[in-house]
């Protein structure tokens, strides 16, 4: 059980099990997302034609805010029970924990997206004019971009004053290229235009930032 993948699996399963029993994160994310959708519906009249132009942006903003809810609680449990200290002292590689956390967050946010998407389709009367499978690809790659940076910055803001606000402050500027790509690709697919550039940009962004986060996470973990 000391192989990195074993540690990742154990850590991930622990997080999933805890979440399944309490359903803290998923409930708060869902409700928050729903609130965001409703508030947006007051600002933009979601008639069919206009909605396809702005839906991409609205969806990803809602998912971004909901993801921040999930990310904020990523390390909270570990911090409360001194688990992080124990982990630092153990010979386990830090990256295994990081990958486990990222995968856990990815699963939570993906579940949220899967539950919210039908709601979006209903509220905004969406119908994709382009190939709908590409939307799935954008969702996967985009969520990974948010989650990998978010988990890294959540670890970074563990010992800061105003921890909850530090995470979005750090995450949003750096995620801007990824957010732009997510929104533009979703809008393009919904309107039947080409999204290849944006998807390629997202994949490149994911590769670069996953690599850098993996390289730097051990430093960040030991720096707390």
């Amino acid at each position: 059980m000391t192989a990195p993948t074993g540690i990742t699996r154990v850590s991930l399963l622990k997080d999933l099990r805890l979440e399944w029993r309490s359903k803290d994160a998923i409930n708060s994310m869902l409700f928050f997302s729903l609130l965001v959708v409703v508030v947006f519906s007051f600002s933009f009249d979601p008639t069919a034609e206009e909605s396809r132009q702005i839906a991409g942006g609205l969806i990803w903003v809602a998912f971004l805010f909901a993801a921040v809810v999930a990310l904020n609680q990523t390390w909270a449990r570990e911090l409360r029970n001194q688990v992080l200290d124990a982990y630092r002292v153990s010979p386990a590689p830090a990256n295994s924990l990081f990958v486990a956390k990222v995968l856990g967050n990815f699963i939570f946010v993906s579940v949220l997206e899967a539950l919210m998407t039908p709601l979006f389709i209903v509220f905004y009367r969406l119908r994709a004019l382009g190939p709908a499978w590409q939307l799935l690809l954008v969702a996967v790659v985009g969520t990974w971009a948010l989650v990998v940076n978010g988990t890294f910055f959540a670890a970074m803001s563990l010992r800061t004053r105003s921890r909850e606000i530090m995470l979005p402050l750090l995450l949003f500027p750096i995620s801007i290229p990824a957010l732009l790509a997510m929104v533009q690709s979703t809008t393009a697919i919904l309107n039947g235009e080409g999204a290849r550039f944006w998807i390629v940009l997202l994949v490149t962004y994911d590769l670069v930032f996953t690599t850098v986060c993996l390289l730097l996470f051990e430093t960040v973990l030991n720096a707390e």
Binding site: F152, L170, P173, P177, A178, L201, T204, Y205, V208, L216
Partner: protein, 230 residues
Amino acid sequence: MKRVFPILGVLTAILLSYALYMALVVAPTERTMGSVQRIFYYHVPSAWTAFILFFINFGASVFYLIKRNPAADIVALVTAEVGVVFCTVVLVTGPIWARPVWGIWWTWDMRLTSTLVLWLIYVSYLFLRRFSSSGETPLLAASLAVLGALCVPFVYFSIWFFRTQHPQPVMGGGGSIDPRMLHVLLINWLAFSCFAFLVCWSRYRLEKLQRDVDHAHAVESLLAPRGSVR
């Protein structure tokens, strides 16, 4: 070292005054925009200086991550602070220039948006520096600086594609520059760079002093007999 600073200060003051004179008086008036165009001699050098400072921040952060050299950390902090100031100058002088020339304060074109995002990234770096209460803030900040610097090409590339696919407000610019204007521009850039260097140096000394004082206090608290420290 202590004597060099005032000498450099005087030289920089002279250079800045000369650059101001060149920009406001000597430089030829632009044909279409008139005297308003002279903001160009503050806007562009500020932008170049900001980019150079952010680049130095990236280098210092990488050096700190590899070598854990405290001086590199102070250089990173200092260049980020002064860089943000110069970037703010760019973002303020830009709209001031744009309003009489284009009729609008702001537009979401490629260059403005990218500069704004650059500013946001480094302001978030300064937020981390200020709000972090970890003992290893330099390491965290250095990691953030590396991520931020890696993000910059993505920012430029994505916004370039985004904004060239959509119709743009027609703006002047591009094309060649009058050699006399280029001369004044470069003088202003030199003056701004010297000024930036002076401010960075001064801030560096201040930060180093502050850290030495904090360190001395910490050592004093550790060595003092129990109960005798206020």
